[in-house]
Symmetry: C2
Subunit: 309 residues, 2 copies
Amino acid sequence: LDEFALIRRHFARPASGIVTLGIGDDAALLQPPEDCETVVACDTLVAGRHFAGDADPADIGWKALNVNLSDLAAMGAEADAFLLALTLPEADEDWLAAFAGGLREAADAGGVCLAGGDTTRGPLTITITAIGHLPRNSALRRDGARDGDLLAVTGTLGDAGAALAGHADAELQRRLHRPRARLEAGRVLRGLARAAIDVSDGLLADVGHICRASRVGAAVRADRLPASEALAALAVPEEHRLAWQCGAGDDYELAVAISPQALDAAQAACLDIGVPLSVIGRFVVGERARLFDAEGKEYNGITNGYSHF
Amino acid sequence: LDEFALIRRHFARPASGIVTLGIGDDAALLQPPEDCETVVACDTLVAGRHFAGDADPADIGWKALNVNLSDLAAMGAEADAFLLALTLPEADEDWLAAFAGGLREAADAGGVCLAGGDTTRGPLTITITAIGHLPRNSALRRDGARDGDLLAVTGTLGDAGAALAGHADAELQRRLHRPRARLEAGRVLRGLARAAIDVSDGLLADVGHICRASRVGAAVRADRLPASEALAALAVPEEHRLAWQCGAGDDYELAVAISPQALDAAQAACLDIGVPLSVIGRFVVGERARLFDAEGKEYNGITNGYSHF
């Protein structure tokens, strides 16, 4: 059994867009438009760490691609293609078919094509390399935030954390298992935001990455954090909700730095594509992200994000 | 401990060449020259399958990069950068320092820079994505061979197979553990060869990939297979030597299809960079690669290459 052939069968369409040579050669070829930069990112999901070994393989396929597309979204990039490196303990055709199905759904939703990859035998591990492009010098980097910029976030925070904590609500579970990379929001914020990151490790940790790269601090307002109806409906202590919103990660929203002058345009652009953009704080002189209540009192003990080890 | 920070310390030089943004953002940015295509490939090495768990970590780092650069070489590409997705069972600083050292050596030898990646906790697995570029429409694909073309191979075959079979000669062991991607040969053969592949799975299997993609057959001459002095010096039965040369793989030489008219120029170009290019057969009407002796009698039972499962 050739696993990659099976996966490929689920990707009936040949190379498309800027991909000039796809699966089946030593490497894939891409032809970015004139005056563009190529954008590449890779992330690994390990069974038993990033997902349960017995999780729905369609969800695993969907999520594996979206966490990588989310990195392209955070740069403001157009997503083009991806490479799949799949390590599998055994040849299980049912599992593979379901995995490939979820992966293809995600590829269709993200407008990307499978351009190549590798299958190997070993403990279940999925590494995806996402490839995109954007006009030269237009990337939303982490190092562009300035003291005085506003901190804003797309969508809502905390659903994935609540789901991971065991709340069975279908909408919360969907956010955890079927995150959707904010590719459109990243694109419309290109040229409007000064810095961006995707919320994967946890809001405070991720905003902290912008702080370190930009040599600023951030003051996050707990009372401004956007919550979904599903999350707001949970009868849980505030510190649980805050921990999920600020520390749990896995939301795959975009956190951006925006100059006060650009805020109206950024919110209008996001509204146009149906994505709320909420101001949740401000970049300040400092060196890390801190959480405050409406009266300016700092929260302590709210986890600073998912640590990979 | 942040493993990626440790690895990064071994790559002191910042982003260079066409890499405009390296490690430390959501994604890396590359700026290929005008009228070029981007070339990307990824391969995974799994502990216990592609290398022994207790192998020298410097060798693992070297080889993990070179097997990926070899895919770029087989396209005739210029190698620019790579992403490292490293899954590790535990934080072992000595192991990591040695691994990163071997990886950096390989990066320096190949002229590529580390542009990003991911570290995760789990069973030891290394996925590298290699990124390069080449002038538009100049790639050495697998599908360009024609009936009547010559089959040629760079360097020598079989050393890695002999080493894997237990022969302790230092030169043989070096070929197995420290393969060097034929990047220069790939580049000089661009425009001269009609098709190329790197010999990773085994000569007959890999030439078979060219055959399938090009819809031709190949007749390989056993008596023409180039052997190193170290391999020739081994007192072993012919079928062992042939199995290593034709089936063992891991040689990372390039096998190419060349029109008879282009042979002199191709051999001269390879000679200029000190790489022998030996004609070992011919592409013919057919659909797979077959091995013959000098009298035209076919060999049977020579393994057709490394099967990933």
